[in-house]
C-alpha cells in the first residue's frame, strides 16, 4: 500500500490541477481555490475593484497554481501577487496595477505588524546637541514605504469604500507612507525628500545622512516633520551615537 505521504502528495496535486476531476474531488478543488482567492480578495480590495471580480478571480486562480500557499495561516499568503500581476499578460494595459497591489500588501503587513513601544523622549534629551547629527532613528514595525512612478496613493484613495473611483490625478510619481494609528492602517502621500529621509532611517542611516535626501526641505523636516513623525509613532525609537542598533 502507498505510504501516507504519497497518498497526500497525490491528493494535493489533484487539487491544484486544472483538468477534469471526479465530482467529490472537485468539491475540495473549489474549496481550496475559494480559500486562496478569498485571502487575496481580503488583502487586495482596491486591486479587486480596479479589475472587477471575474478578472480578479481568474488572476487569483492562475497565481494560486503557480505559487502555492506555504503557510497554514492564510494571512501569510499572497505577498508575491503584485510581482505576478506585473508579468500577467492580461493586465499589461494597466501599468499601475502591480504598484497599487504593492501598496495594498504594505497595508496588509502593516495591519499585522508588532505594536511599537513608546518613544523615549528622556533618552533623546540626554544626547548632547553636538552629537545629534549621528543619531539613527528607527521606524515603527507597522511602517511601510512604497514609491511608484504612478499615482498609487491617489488611485488607492479614490477606491476606498464610499469613493467613486476617480483619482485626483492619473499621472506622476507618488511616494506612500503606510503607518498605523489606533490599530487602523493609514496611507499618506509624502514629498519625495521626506519619504527619502524616512527610507534612509529604515536603512539605518544617521540623521545627517537622512537629511541629505531632503535638499532645501531639510530645515522644515528637522523643524516640524521629524517631530510629527515621532508624535504619530512613525519614528518609534533611536540609537544614540556609539550605541549598537
Amino acid at each position: 500500500m502507498k505510504a501516507l505521504g504519497v497518498l497526500q502528495g497525490e491528493f494535493l496535486e489533484s487539487l491544484l490541477r486544472d483538468d477534469e476531476a471526479p465530482p467529490r474531488v472537485a468539491i475540495y478543488r473549489r474549496n481550496v481555490l475559494a480559500a486562496l482567492s478569498g485571502a487575496l480578495e481580503a488583502a487586495y480590495p482596491v486591486t479587486l475593484r480596479l479589475v472587477g471580480a471575474a478578472f480578479f478571480l481568474e488572476a487569483a486562480r492562475t497565481f494560486a497554481r503557480a505559487t502555492p500557499s506555504t503557510s497554514g495561516d492564510l494571512h501569510a499568503y499572497g505577498g508575491e501577487f503584485p510581482e505576478f500581476l506585473s508579468g500577467y499578460s492580461h493586465a499589461r494595459a494597466l501599468d499601475y496595477l502591480a504598484d497599487v497591489a504593492r501598496l495594498e500588501w504594505a497595508c496588509h503587513e502593516s495591519s499585522l505588524a508588532a505594536d511599537a513601544g513608546g518613544f523615549d523622549f528622556e533618552a533623546l534629551a540626554r544626547v548632547p546637541p553636538q552629537r545629534a547629527a549621528a543619531i539613527r532613528f528607527t521606524l515603527a514595525p507597522a511602517v511601510r514605504l512604497v514609491a511608484s512612478p504612478h499615482p498609487v496613493v491617489s488611485i488607492w484613495e479614490a477606491n476606498q469604500p464610499g469613493r467613486d473611483g476617480t483619482p485626483r490625478t492619473t499621472t506622476g510619481a507618488e511616494h506612500a507612507l503606510v503607518w498605523r494609528a489606533d490599530g487602523e492602517v493609514r496611507v499618506e502621500r509624502l514629498g519625495e525628500g521626506e519619504w527619502g529621509a524616512l527610507a534612509a532611517f529604515a536603512r539605518g542611516a544617521t540623521l545627517a545622512e537622512a537629511s541629505g535626501c531632503l535638499g532645501a526641505d531639510a530645515a522644515a523636516f528637522l523643524g516640524d516633520g521629524l517631530a510629527r513623525h515621532v508624535r504619530d509613532g512613525i519614528v518609534a525609537a533611536f540609537a544614540a551615537p556609539g550605541e549598537a542598533m
Partner: protein
C-alpha cells in the same frame, strides 16, 4: 473546565460581529475564534482579542496546523499557537483531525485522511507532541469529508475513538460533520456516536450544511438542519451537557440569528429551563 455542572453554549465569533458582541454582551458561556486570525505580531486583531478575553472565556480553534500530514509538524505555526495560548489562557484549545499540507504546500482546507494504521499512529504521536508543547490537553475535531480513500481500512468512528483513547486528548464532536459524513459515505450516524467513549467528548459543534449534486457540503453557511438538531439530542443524551458551539462562516447572518441558534441548543441542554433561558437572553 467550566463545562462541569452548568450547560454552556457559545458562538464562533467572526469579524462582522466583533463590535456588537462587546457592546451587547449577549449571554454566552464562551466565544470561539480561529487561532490563525490572531497570528499577527500586533495591531487590531490582538487588541480585539484582549477585549473579548476580558468579557468571556475563550476557545482557540485552529484550522491550519495540518496535524495529520506526513510532513513534520510546522514549528513556526506551533510557536505562534503556543504564544497565543500562553498570552490568552483560553478555556479550550482545539484542532482538526485532518491534514492540509504536504511537501510544504498548503491547501488551506481541511483534507480527509486515509483511515489507516499508519495515519492513526501518526496522529496519536502528533497529538502527544502538541499537548506536550502547549502544556495542556487539546481537543480534536472530526471533519466533514467528501472523498474517501480506497486505502482506508478503519471505519471513521473507530479511528476517531482510537485517537481519543490512545492519546490523552479529548474530542470536539462536530455533530453536523457526523451527519454530513453519514450521508456522503452511507453509514449510520447513531452507530458513529455509539462508538465514541462518552467520557472522551469535551465540546460539541453545530453548523449548517448545503446540498449539491447529491452530496452534503459543510459550508457553515446555513441554519442547523432538523436532522442535525435531532442527532444533537442523541449526542447530549450520550455525552452529557458539553460546551456547545454554533458556527457560521459564510454568508454570515445578523448576530441575533446566531443567538437564536444558541438558544435552541440551550433548550436541548436544559429542557426544563427553556422559559428561563429564553428570558435571560437578549
Amino acid at each position: 473546565m467550566a463545562a462541569q455542572g452548568a450547560p454552556v453554549v457559545g458562538i464562533g465569533l467572526r469579524a462582522p460581529h466583533y463590535a456588537q458582541v462587546l457592546e451587547r454582551r449577549p449571554d454566552l458561556a464562551f466565544l470561539e475564534v480561529h487561532s490563525e486570525n490572531f497570528f499577527g505580531d500586533g495591531g487590531a486583531p490582538l487588541a480585539w482579542l484582549e477585549r473579548f478575553r476580558g468579557a468571556y472565556p475563550l476557545s482557540l480553534h485552529g484550522v491550519g496546523l495540518s496535524l495529520g500530514s506526513a510532513d513534520t509538524l510546522q514549528e513556526r505555526h506551533l510557536a505562534k499557537l503556543e504564544a497565543l495560548v500562553h498570552r490568552f489562557e483560553p478555556l479550550l484549545v482545539s484542532e482538526h483531525l485532518s491534514w492540509s499540507s504536504i511537501g510544504g504546500r498548503h491547501a488551506n482546507d481541511l483534507l480527509p485522511l486515509p483511515y489507516t494504521e499508519e495515519a492513526l499512529a501518526l496522529v496519536i504521536e502528533r497529538v502527544d507532541r502538541v499537548q506536550e508543547r502547549l502544556g495542556r490537553p487539546i481537543l480534536l475535531e472530526n471533519v466533514s469529508t467528501y472523498h474517501a480513500f480506497a486505502e482506508s481500512s478503519i471505519p471513521e468512528w473507530e479511528f476517531v475513538a482510537e485517537v481519543a483513547r490512545a492519546s490523552a486528548c479529548r474530542l470536539l464532536l462536530d455533530v453536523n460533520n457526523v451527519h454530513v459524513n453519514a450521508f456522503n459515505h452511507g453509514f449510520d450516524a447513531r452507530r458513529y456516536l455509539a462508538a465514541i467513549d462518552p467520557a472522551s467528548v469535551a465540546e460539541i459543534h453545530l453548523a449548517g450544511f448545503e446540498e449539491a449534486d447529491g452530496c452534503l457540503i459543510d459550508t457553515h453557511g446555513a441554519p442547523v438542519s432538523p436532522e442535525v438538531w435531532s442527532l444533537y439530542e442523541a449526542a447530549v443524551a450520550r455525552f452529557g451537557a458539553q460546551p456547545t458551539l454554533i458556527e457560521w462562516d459564510t454568508d454570515i447572518p445578523a448576530l441575533d440569528v446566531l443567538l437564536g441558534e444558541a438558544r435552541k441548543a440551550r433548550a436541548i441542554l436544559v429542557p426544563r429551563e427553556v422559559g428561563a433561558t429564553a428570558r435571560a437572553l437578549p
